[in-house]
Amino acid sequence: MNIKPIAFLLIAATTLAVIACGGGGQKADSSASSAQEAPAATASSPSDYDPKRGEGKFDASNVTVGPLDQAMAAKGESIAATKCNSCHKMTEERLVGPGWKGVTTRNTPYWIMNFITNPDPMIEKDPKVQAQLELCLVRMPNQSLTDNDAREILEFMRKNDGAK
């Protein structure tokens, strides 16, 4: 692979919090197209970043939680088995990443859905995520979850945290 995450990660952990990356570069050759893809993010600078909401598609207006939906939680469980549980246990124990117990009490539902669908920009900006990165030293991968996948996983996390 081309990008060596460790170098990026260490730099990210120590300096990126202070110095924003990307954008603003000089155009060297107008005929050559840019390798920098536009970030999926909507927020443009750390000062705009809302640590309660995170960054991505979701906020209080489009994520609502009610009584536990068992069917949705079961779907979330099955997706998590393939895409998440290699690194996350259902207890509080850290494996590669933190255990999932209590995750829905520590974070808003839309923060969780933003982070699991849009991890890279949040790893660069979110104080809680950066603190976890210093512990785990592995960047949470983008597992290409659809919006539905994310909602179902959230429901599974809620069930794990005892939601009724």
């Binding site: 692979m1 260490l10 050759d29 005929s31 690194c87 030293l137 991968p141």
Partner: protein, 658 residues
């Protein structure tokens, strides 16, 4: 900043010119702004993808233009331990042939698929020259998706040239040989009687790209060299250069250069299709492998085909005509309008340009100079539009800029010559270093060239790069052809040996729906492990199947015991990552095999036969995270007949057994 860098590079180049002592004063051919023209800043993309044959490496390389940066080497006909190509169980069938598993070939030419005479960015085709094969590379995955073997052929050199909608990709045999269904155990000097040429027309399915050997033309025994499809007005025709019309079988260097003229063979393939519809083709027994990659099972299958439809051009009139062409023609190139066919006799000192209209008229008027083994030979003057006089020595290949100019490479005089097609006059010439073979302009073989750069692929490297012992890097050179004068802007080394190449604007490829990951939910591999809960080890007799998953940064399982000497162990490794550019690797000590490189969401299998008892570490070979160096495990191998139970684990050791 950019200006300073460019000036510095240019100054260095200029200084090199002052102090070097090269034939033709090669350094001074580079003028001041060359470096800036070839410079693509860090973080910027190139303007073109350049798909270059890897010659005797058997592979295809992909460079960016104008930077000359190597982007990828795609394994095609040769095994590639780096990517597990030909080593993993899934890829082995791709290299199957009627001669069994063939781990190498000689890839000469590339041909990009077209729609309406323009490059469409779907596939690129390649020929295997030694054990005759044709490959299709999928440009969404940059992976070899299909390989078909060609019966009745030997030396698939006249290939893989295609028509303007990729209806057919052709494959003409370089060596004529006895047909596969006949006894090949005949005296070599019975060439004239027993040796035949075969031209394969391989059809390409519009949506899937799947290839099928539609039919073969059986021709007199000669050597077929190169080919081009007609286009526009000449769509429906194909033109093949041929040499050794002397039908020599020994010392061809002398014996195949006796005649003043050999032929360009014009093929009316629409006529051939009519004969097939009328049931005139003959089904002939043949055995040839057809290997296909399946993107949902991540596996290849190899099927042995049993017969081929053959049209004998001696019996079926009006399919094939010969046009005399001076001195062992090599290149045979059709201009963007489809009217002009440029023949390049590699021993000639002129370039004949034939007219499609005149060829049609000559056929209508039966303006023939007798026949060659029953095939009409059109009178040279009746087909000729005109000759480019004294263009250089040893013309080989011609590409076009769509602005009325042709560019021809000259091997003997080591130069590229730009000439006007209508006037047949030389407009510009520029030296190459050294002995240019093919040249390539993006779209330069199509109806719509994109004439900004021309790349020359040279046969001799000599003093262009730092010396590396007897063998040197192969060499390509980029010329800016946007102005009236051609300008050399960059040398770049390539893997060996670059024959032909084609290029496409970067956007045509990068916006074609490039695959970034394999969706784990769509993985239909029979041994997939969808999640760690499904990781397991299963014994079936002496076969041990390890259903293994990988994610940053561990394998599941990573401790395995109960494998015995004499077992065949299959590691089916599924990469559970779903993010772009996060492959994992897998290797185990002592495997007489290679590594696996497993793309996100993919399952790949390594077969391992442990030969002695002991402890065998395994690890991830492709740096994946800060804890990559922790991504490892052990397999315990016990002697044959041992009672150590089969067990596996992750996170806690297997219970101890003696």
């Amino acid at each position: 900043m950019k200006l300073i860098q460019s000036t510095t590079i240019a100054a260095v180049l200029a200084a090199t010119a002052l102090f070097s002592c090269k034939p033709k004063n090669s350094g001074s051919a580079v003028s001041g702004d060359a470096a800036a023209k070839a410079y693509v800043a860090p973080g910027k993309y190139d303007e073109y993808y350049n798909f270059v044959s890897g010659g005797f490496s058997g592979q295809m390389s992909v460079y960016g233009l104008p930077s000359g940066r190597l982007l990828r080497v795609i394994p095609v006909f040769s095994v590639d331990p780096e990517k597990g190509w030909g080593y993993s169980e899934e890829t082995k069938p791709m290299l199957n042939t009627s001669n069994g598993f063939v781990p190498w070939d000689d890839l000469h030419h590339t041909e990009m698929s077209q729609t309406n005479g323009e490059i469409d960015g779907k596939w690129v085709f390649a020929n295997g020259n030694n054990t005759p094969r044709l490959a299709r590379i999928d440009l969404k995955t940059f992976k070899t998706a299909e390989i078909i073997e060609l019966p009745n052929s030997a030396g698939n050199h006249s290939s893989p040239f295609g028509t303007e909608n990729s209806e057919y990709i052709v494959a003409g045999t370089r060596f004529s040989v006895p047909s596969d269904d006949e006894n090949g155990d005949v005296p070599i000097n019975s060439y004239k009687k027993n040796f035949k040429g075969h031209i394969s027309f391989v059809s390409v399915a519009k949506e899937t790209g799947e290839m099928k050997l539609a039919f073969q033309l059986k021709t007199p025994g000669v050597n077929f060299d190169l080919a081009r499809a007609g286009k526009g007005k000449s769509h429906g025709w194909f033109f093949f250069s041929c040499y050794n019309t002397e039908q020599a079988s020994t010392l061809l260097e002398v014996n195949a250069s006796q005649k003043d003229k050999d032929f360009i063979m014009a093929v009316n393939w629409k006529k051939a299709e009519e004969y097939i519809k009328a049931g005139k083709g003959k089904k002939v027994k043949a055995k040839y492998a057809h290997n296909k990659w399946n993107e949902s099972t991540h596996s290849a299958t190899s099927k042995m085909e049993e017969e081929v439809l053959v049209l004998d051009v001696k019996e079926l009139k009006d399919i094939v005509y010969f046009i005399p062409c001076p001195k062992s023609p090599h290149g045979c190139d059709v201009d963007p309008t489809g009217e002009y066919i440029v023949g390049s006799g590699k021993l000639a000192a002129l370039i004949p340009v034939f007219s499609f209209d005149k060829i049609q008229k000559a056929i209508a008027d039966k303006s023939y100079d007798g026949d060659y083994e029953g095939i009409p030979v059109i009178k040279y003057d009746a087909a000729l539009y005109g000759e480019v006089k004294k263009p250089g020595l040893g013309p080989l290949h011609t590409e076009f800029d769509g602005k009325g100019n042709a560019y021809t490479s000259f091997f003997v005089s080591s130069e590229v010559v730009k000439w006007n097609i209508k006037d047949l006059t030389v407009v510009d010439r520029v030296p190459t270093y050294y002995s240019v073979g093919h040249l390539s302009i993006p779209g330069g073989n199509t109806k719509k060239p994109s004439p900004k750069y021309l790349v020359a692929y040279n046969k001799i490297t000599k003093d262009r790069y730092l010396p590396t012992g007897p063998e040197l890097a192969q060499s390509a050179q980029i010329y800016d052809i946007s102005g009236d004068k051609m300008q050399l802007i960059l040398d770049f080394p390539t893997i060996g040996e670059p024959h032909y190449a084609q290029s496409a604007p970067a956007d045509v490829i990068r916006n074609n729906g490039q695959l970034k990951i394999y969706k784990i939910g769509e993985n239909k591999h029979p041994y997939v492990t969808t999640g760690e809960a499904n990781a397991k080890v299963v014994r079936e007799g002496n076969k041990v199947h390890v259903y293994m998953s990988s994610i940053r940064s561990h394998f599941a399982p990573d401790n395995i015991e109960g494998v015995r000497v004499g077992d065949e162990v299959y590691f089916h490794v599924t990469n559970l990552e779903q993010d772009w550019d996060v492959p994992h690797g897998f290797a185990i000590k002592g495997a007489d095999n290679a590594e696996l490189l497993i793309m996100p969401g993919e399952t790949t299998t390594l077969k391992w036969i442990p030969k002695k008892a002991g402890m065998y570490p395994m690890y991830c070979t492709d740096f994946c995270s800060a804890l990559h160096q922790e991504m490892q495990g052990y397999v315990r191998v016990s002697p044959a007949g041992s009672n150590v139970p089969l067990s596996f684990s992750l996170g806690k050791p297997v219970p101890e057994t003696k």
